[in-house]
């Protein structure tokens, strides 16, 4: 079996979720690496969109910013923030890839503050950026996040970005576009989806070397268990080669 680190397996697993011909809104870092890997393997026609306006670039290397020139290198269009987000809002964008400091059992994400007092937070994070927008509009939200009890919490300090909100039909009632929402949570230990009715996070596969119990141990809330939990397919030699040599040769993402 090939040797890989925790970031590499998350990116490889994430890339497999993106089918050929789909559209995906991504940020910099690991999400962008996953989209680039998908393009170089099974999804050559994956259309990548960046919130600052880049549409379908032929990314020559990892962008540093979601608005740097690489995000519209040999692209079909160099557009605007409103155009990209309105394209998402109209229902044209299938996937988005996000991360965050905290996540709860309904897939709500916090990237705003740690602490109870918003006016004087213990820790200030960047805020939504385009995350709330992408998560509100794109059909399926994927999250890549390291599995531990600091990140997987019963209650996030601040809901920056909507998951299934309070579960059940609460998201639909909020006025957010219907049927869009969290789809897969990809961690270094396994992959989760959301149970259809309750919208609670559910383990569907465990990464090589991990069990459901270990994932539960590294999660601050009770996880559901899919009826047939499978073992995640580890990264192949070819996926790792492309990821290391073509997608991220300078180890912006993989080195961490």
């Amino acid at each position: 079996m090939a040797d890989y680190n925790i970031i590499e397996i998350m990116i490889c697993v994430a890339a497999r979720e993106l089918e050929d011909g789909a559209t995906v809104g991504v940020g910099t870092g690991a999400p962008c690496a996953a989209a680039m890997l998908a393009q170089r393997t099974h999804s050559p026609n994956l259309v990548i969109m960046f919130e600052a306006g880049g549409v379908d670039p032929q990314l020559p290397e990892m962008p540093i910013s979601v608005g740097d020139t690489r995000t519209f290198y040999k692209a079909v269009m160099a557009s605007s923030m409103c155009d990209i987000m309105e394209t998402c809002c109209r229902g044209f964008v299938d996937y988005t890839f996000l991360g965050g400091a905290q996540i709860d059992m309904y897939g709500n994400l916090n990237s705003t503050i740690i602490g109870a007092d918003h006016s004087k937070p213990k820790v200030r994070f960047p805020g939504s950026g385009g995350a709330n927008d992408f998560a509100s509009f794109c059909w399926r939200m994927l999250v890549m996040i390291v599995q531990d009890t600091r990140r997987f919490v019963e209650k996030v300090d601040f809901i920056t970005t909507p998951g299934w909100l309070e579960g059940g039909d609460s998201r639909a009632k909020s006025g957010l576009p219907l049927d869009a929402g969290p789809y897969r949570i990809i961690t270094n230990m396994g992959v989760m989806d959301f149970e259809r009715e309750s919208k609670r996070m559910r383990v569907i596969s465990t990464n090589p070397g991990y069990s459901f119990e270990e994932i539960q141990l590294n999660c601050g809330f009770e996880l559901l268990r899919a009826p047939d939990i499978t073992e995640t397919k580890p990264p192949t030699e070819e996926e790792l080669r492309i990821l290391r040599e073509e997608v991220d040769p300078y180890k912006y993402v993989l080195g961490r």
Partner: protein, 334 residues
């Protein structure tokens, strides 16, 4: 229209389109020569207490020269639109130029890491904040550009981002759906860096627009910094390329490399080593102050700043990097 819920954040700007019209009614439509130094433009059009918006996105086509000038002139108590504001935000935070911020994305520098000085300032309790999202702020500028008090969107619903915003949720009179209402944002002053402009303010931008077309239209006063001044004859030869017309603009400043150390599409790439230095020196307050003195306070202008950080040699490397020529240079092939 029935309002269902209100965000608890304060609106830092007035969304009333008739008051904006009153202002715009008095603004000169004359095509006069607006070329001046950045120093003079900042003295004349950027005031203490103003609500400021910066064009570009992150460290991309951002008017960094203008941010330095605002800091050098010691502006205080400003409002600020934090619309994926990264390197510009840490510059303005370092001098505590603002005391209220509409936040979509601040403190971070995307993949590069976080600014400790900006974070510390935002955690100090000295800054009043209101939460939004990138599209939220773009939509607010769009509403202002349309001359209407708000536009409806479908983001922010159901989240704390909404609860701590200055927006409202209302029922759609056509469909009964719940909608987020984004109040128009009319900045007092915006600074936008462009590729080319004439002396009157007609401006061209290459690559992504981000929100700068709407930003120029929404702002009461606009300073354009441009990589290159071009003749009005050239503007008129190719009007398709004009994205900002002269009547929106108050000042035109020719500032070559005005986005340095950020990226200017098709011109030069960001100076990542220098931006990393910015992040590193913030760990030590004394070192940081010396760094600010060397790079901002003791520099008469942007050219001296660039000179102190590698000058034309560095710019040449960044130009190669922007055009991906460094790959050819390194490998001897495409």
């Amino acid at each position: 229209m029935v309002v269902i819920e209100e965000g608890r954040g304060r609106l830092f700007t007035d969304p009333d389109p008739d008051r904006a019209r009153e202002f715009f009614r008095k603004k000169s439509r004359k095509m006069t020569n607006k070329l001046m130094s950045l120093k003079k433009a900042t003295e004349e059009f950027v005031h203490d207490g103003d609500y400021l918006a910066i064009g570009g996105f992150g460290a991309n086509r951002t008017p960094i020269a203008a941010c330095h000038e605002i800091v050098r002139q010691g502006r205080k108590n400003m409002g600020f639109a934090g619309h994926t504001s990264t390197h510009d935000f840490q510059i303005l935070a370092a001098s505590e130029a603002f005391n209220r911020v509409d936040i979509a994305y601040v403190v971070g520098l995307e993949a590069r890491g976080l600014s400790q000085c900006a974070r510390k300032y935002m955690q100090s309790g000295k800054v009043e904040v209101c939460e939004w999202t990138n599209y939220g702020l773009s939509a607010r500028l769009k509403a202002a550009a349309m001359g209407v008090p708000y536009i409806p969107t479908r983001n922010m619903l159901g989240t704390d981002t909404f609860k701590y915003s200055g927006g409202k949720i209302a029922e759609c009179p056509f469909t009964g759906k719940r909608l987020m209402l984004q109040p128009a944002l009319y900045p007092d002053i915006s600074v936008i860096h462009v590729h080319e402009a004439d002396i009157y303010g007609n401006a061209r931008i290459r690559g992504i627009m981000i929100s700068d077309d709407d930003l120029a239209r929404a702002s009461k006063r606009v300073i354009i910094t441009t990589e290159r001044l071009i003749p009005n004859k050239e503007i008129r030869r190719d009007p398709t390329s004009t994205v900002i017309p002269f009547y929106l603009v108050d000042a035109v400043c020719e500032v070559l490399y005005g986005a340095y150390p950020g990226t200017m599409p098709y011109e030069y790439f960001s100076d990542e080593e220098h931006i990393q230095e910015w992040l590193r020196v913030q760990d030590d307050p004394v070192e940081f102050q010396e760094f600010l003195n060397r790079n901002i306070y003791d520099c008469p202008d942007h050219y001296e700043y660039i000179q102190r950080n590698g000058g034309i040699h560095r710019i040449t490397e960044l130009r190669q990097k922007e055009l991906l020529l460094h790959k050819e240079v390194e490998s001897g092939r495409l």
